[in-house]
């Protein structure tokens, strides 16, 4: 039996799936769920996704079968059939994606049968079973990708040299998803690779249909999208590499070398790009040197967030920015088997720092972890305080920052206190963006 979660930092599987499908090009989600699901998901995004809600057919425009007590008793397949038929008349899409909720899964509607009737008529329509009790929004994102690989991506497509798929960043759940995906796409393009990232403005359904032509899948997450990687390997025979989303030069150097090795790219080509990009990065950073010193901008840090951001931000703070990330709190609900990989990432920092990694789903418990970790001042005259300090987390960690007297920046869901459109933190330029945001938070009152 799992335990409860205080102030969850994610939605249910349906929430993550609806967000992901909304982000697919030209795709219309059709919910087979109880009344309330689409609205609740929409308002949760309204509160947490850096002011981003909706999309082509998102938010409250999402069609739903809106099942009621009658369907709970007698079954909802007929209601779904009617909903799909009506949706096809009213809403224009290149792909329709049926997503189930808790209720329709518990009552056991045969969604596959209903969807296949429409497929037989030649309509591009697929489904995923995303009932909320299956897991959280990151799992829902994974289920959407699995369905695409099983039911949409063409099989038997010839592999094309230099073509890769990249995922592991969940739309809207990673508030910086568009910038993060686009940044990596652009970077890998500089190695001559053709990258399908599914969810950016540069992606198309045709490109997704041809995704089996890739020679490698790059999963930029130790947790999100891994099941889809296994499905894709099984169905389409594409191998995959797993790397945390790279933020800043140190991580991005590693990332490029890893991808280069997996694709057997010319080492000189990769090293050349790394050299150029570092030069550019430090060209920008050069002008920060004086203020970095004069304002004493080095910080102790607590990093709080999802599996992607905790590892990647801590590494950036440690290995590029020269900060001291002492406590790292991963707020995801993870299985025991998923935790060692994240610990491993943080035990091999170039700075030699060994941050304390804690897994905690309950926001109000985080301060307790800090107090157990950092020695308190027992009325000592000379006390090595956790100061100056910074909390990089979500907007739920503002109170923690206030109690530590620390500056605060929200990067991990929910991000209620920032507006995010195309900003991204991945790659070299992403590192510069994160520096801008961290230091802006410090000097905001100047």
């Amino acid at each position: 039996m799992s335990k409860f979660i205080e102030k969850p930092r994610y939605l249910c599987a349906l929430g993550g799936a609806m967000a992901a499908v909304t982000a697919l090009p030209g795709t219309v989600p059709v919910l087979h769920a109880a009344s309330g699901c689409a609205g609740n998901i929409t308002w949760a995004q309204n509160g947490g996704s850096g002011l981003q809600v909706g999309g082509y057919c998102g938010g409250l425009s999402v069609p739903s079968s809106n099942v009621q007590e009658r369907e709970v008793v007698f079954g909802g397949s007929e209601r779904l059939r009617e909903q799909i038929r009506n949706t096809l008349e009213v809403i224009a899409g290149e792909l329709y994606f049926v997503l189930t909720g808790c209720v329709t899964e518990v009552i056991g509607d045969d969604v596959r049968a209903v969807v296949s009737e429409f497929q037989d008529e030649g309509i591009d329509i697929i489904f995923a079973e995303t009932g909320g009790f299956n897991g959280n929004s990151y799992h829902g994102y994974d289920l959407v990708l699995q369905s695409l690989f099983r039911n949409y991506v063409r099989r038997g497509v010839e592999k094309i040299k230099g073509r890769v798929n990249l995922w592991g960043i969940a739309p809207f759940m990673d508030v910086f998803w568009r910038g993060n995906l686009a940044g990596l796409r652009l970077l890998l393009g500089k190695l001559g690779l053709e990258v399908n990232t599914f969810f950016t403005a540069g992606d198309t359904l045709e490109g997704i249909k041809q995704a089996a032509g890739a020679e490698l899948n790059i999963i930029v997450s130790d947790v999100y999208g891994l099941e889809a990687a296994k499905v894709c390997e099984e169905v389409h025979g594409i191998p995959y590499v797993v790397v945390p989303p790279p933020i800043g030069p140190a991580a991005t150097d590693d990332f490029l070398r890893r991808v280069g090795a997996a694709l057997s790219l010319d080492i000189l080509l990769v090293e050349d790009l790394i050299e150029q990009e570092n030069k550019l990065y430090y060209h920008y950073l050069e002008t920060l040197i004086d203020c970095y010193n004069d304002l004493d901008l080095q910080r102790y840090a607590v990093v709080v967030g999802d599996a992607n951001y905790t590892v990647s931000v801590a590494k950036f703070l440690s290995d590029d920015l020269g900060w001291l990330p002492e406590l790292v709190v991963c707020t995801d609900q993870l299985g025991e088997e998923q935790k060692p990989q994240l610990s491993h990432r943080l035990s091999s920092l170039k700075s030699g720092l060994q941050p304390e990694l804690v897994f905690e789903t309950d926001t109000s418990e985080i301060l307790g972890h800090f107090n157990r970790y950092w020695p308190r001042n027992r009325s000592q005259k000379y006390y090595n305080a956790f100061s100056p300090a910074f909390v990089v987390g979500s907007s739920l960690d503002r109170e923690l920052a206030q109690s530590l007297g620390a500056a605060h920046l929200s990067v991990s869901f929910p991000v209620a206190n920032r507006a995010v459109l195309d900003r991204g933190y991945t790659g070299y330029s992403g590192g510069l963006h994160l520096i801008e945001d961290l230091f802006s938070a410090i000097v905001a009152g100047r």
């Binding site: 039996m1 799992s2 335990k3 409860f4 979660i5 205080e6 102030k7 969850p8 219309v28 109880a34 009344s35 309330g36 699901c37 609205g39 929409t42 308002w43 309204n46 809600v53 909706g54 082509y56 057919c57 938010g59 409250l60 425009s61 069609p63 809106n66 099942v67 009621q68 007590e69 369907e71 709970v72 009506n86 008349e89 009213v90 809403i91 224009a92 899409g93 909720g101 808790c102 209720v103 518990v106 009552i107 909320g132 009790f133 299956n134 897991g135 609900q333 926001t363 109000s364 739920l396 503002r398 109170e399």
Partner: protein, 414 residues
């Protein structure tokens, strides 16, 4: 963000998983309640049941009854399973039901050693002039302050209930002289309970949105206390001041067509407010219908122009069809309900936001000020409409907007 300082609400989820669906979630709920009571020491714990416990048959009332002797917080089970109804206003009754059953008991009084007759008389007098001001979660502090200001101008005391009333002080609602609703859809169930059990009369008629509605609302309260004369003085002074202040905005509003979409009473009351500002009401959508709204339909029908009327829960696809036909200059919609109109290039404004002022005379002025702003520069939406497509098929715009409304055995089905 209620009193100027940001504080995150505390809420938890039992995060039911597949195993729980099969073996039941009651044990998990029990453990959560015990831990919440120990960890946060709250005065009350609300257990809100979603769809899954409703289907698998978790007995949340049973859990609450079983645990109540063991925890210090009052446990309030609330039944709000999503599939039970399409009308979200039903949840107001569900919450009131839980409050009415669990939080209204008077604290135990101790015999006083010294009796102060003067103090007792004073308390009695104050209670005889106390009004329960029923707030709703869609109104913010600024709106409560406006209504309190108006009631206090009549020499009345105000007890605001239930949103943000402290659980330990809620019993005070059973001692007032009268209750006044600000949203009839919201309060009918609870006000009847207060009358039946505690003998507190109630007024449930007008939502104080708009000039006339606010005046009617004040008159109702004043009549109860025999303060008609004072009320007329207050109203005429307030209305005179307001009309003077509105004069600078009205030329821009004159003859502009407006479309409104929200919860029933709010939509109708706003329709009247907008007409008072000089707009022409082109259409109104209500999220449901109940009998308390009939008086508001009559008020609107008293205007001389035709307008589209539709009862539906949001349903942007119907809305887009109607907007294409009515071509309004301005649209007011619910949270996350303005995107469709925005993509059509229509000027928009949110019809409720708990930080903004909407209610009372102040609300009329503040709303007018905001609409003036939107209409003075509607380019954000106009530019959007050039490049951001709506997802609807061409054939849909030619179809009957109410094509998919079915009537089954007298029950409307979307």
């Amino acid at each position: 963000m209620r009193r100027g300082k940001v504080k995150d609400a505390l809420w938890l989820s039992t995060a039911l998983n597949e195993t729980d669906v099969i073996s039941g979630g009651e044990v998990k709920l029990e453990e959560a309640i015990r831990e919440v009571d120990r960890r946060y020491r709250p005065s009350s714990i609300i257990v809100a049941a979603g769809c899954v416990p409703g289907i698998i048959g978790d007995d949340i009332d049973g859990v609450a009854a079983r645990l109540q002797p063991q925890v210090s917080a009052k446990i309030l089970p609330v039944h709000c399973e999503g599939f039970k109804t399409k009308i979200w206003a039903t949840a107001y009754d569900a919450v009131y039901h839980a409050i009415g059953r669990n939080l209204l008991d008077e604290p135990r009084e101790y015999d006083q050693i010294l009796q102060d007759e003067f103090e007792e008389l004073k308390e009695k007098h104050i209670l005889s002039r106390t009004v329960n001001l029923m707030n709703v979660s869609s109104m913010g502090r600024v709106d409560e302050l406006e209504l309190s200001r108006l009631l206090r101008s009549l020499g009345l005391e105000v007890n605001i209930f239930p949103v943000f009333a402290h659980p330990e002080e809620m019993y005070k609602v059973t001692r007032a002289a009268v209750s006044i609703s600000t949203c009839p859809t919201h309060d009918d169930y609870f006000l009847k309970h207060l009358e039946e059990k505690y003998g507190i009369p109630y007024i449930i008629r007008h939502m104080p949105i708009g000039i006339d509605n606010t005046s009617l609302w004040i008159r109702d309260v004043a009549a109860f206390f025999g303060l008609e004369e004072q009320a007329e003085k207050l109203i005429s002074e307030e209305v005179r001041e307001l009309h003077t202040a509105l004069a600078e905005f009205k030329p821009l509003f004159k003859g502009k067509k407006v479309f409104v979409s929200a919860g029933e009473i709010r939509a109708l009351a706003n329709g009247q407010l907008l007409r008072e500002l000089g707009f022409e009401v082109a259409g109104i959508r209500s999220f449901h219908h109940d009998e308390y709204a009939e008086v508001d339909y009559e008020k609107l029908a008293a205007g001389n122009r035709d307008f589209v009327f539709n009862i539906a829960n949001a349903q942007p696809f119907e809305e887009v069809n109607m907007l294409k036909r009515t071509k309004p200059d301005l649209f007011l919609g619910h949270w996350c309900g303005n995107a469709t109109a925005s993509k059509l290039g229509i000027a928009t404004h949110v019809i409720y936001n708990t930080g903004l002022s909407y209610i009372g005379y102040q609300g009329v002025y503040e709303l007018a000020r905001r609409l003036y702003r939107q209409l003075k520069n509607p380019l954000f939406n106009k530019r959007l409409s050039r490049y951001v497509p709506l997802p609807y098929t061409d054939q849909w715009y030619d179809a009957d907007p109410f094509k998919y409304i079915k009537i089954m055995g007298g029950e409307g089905v979307e």
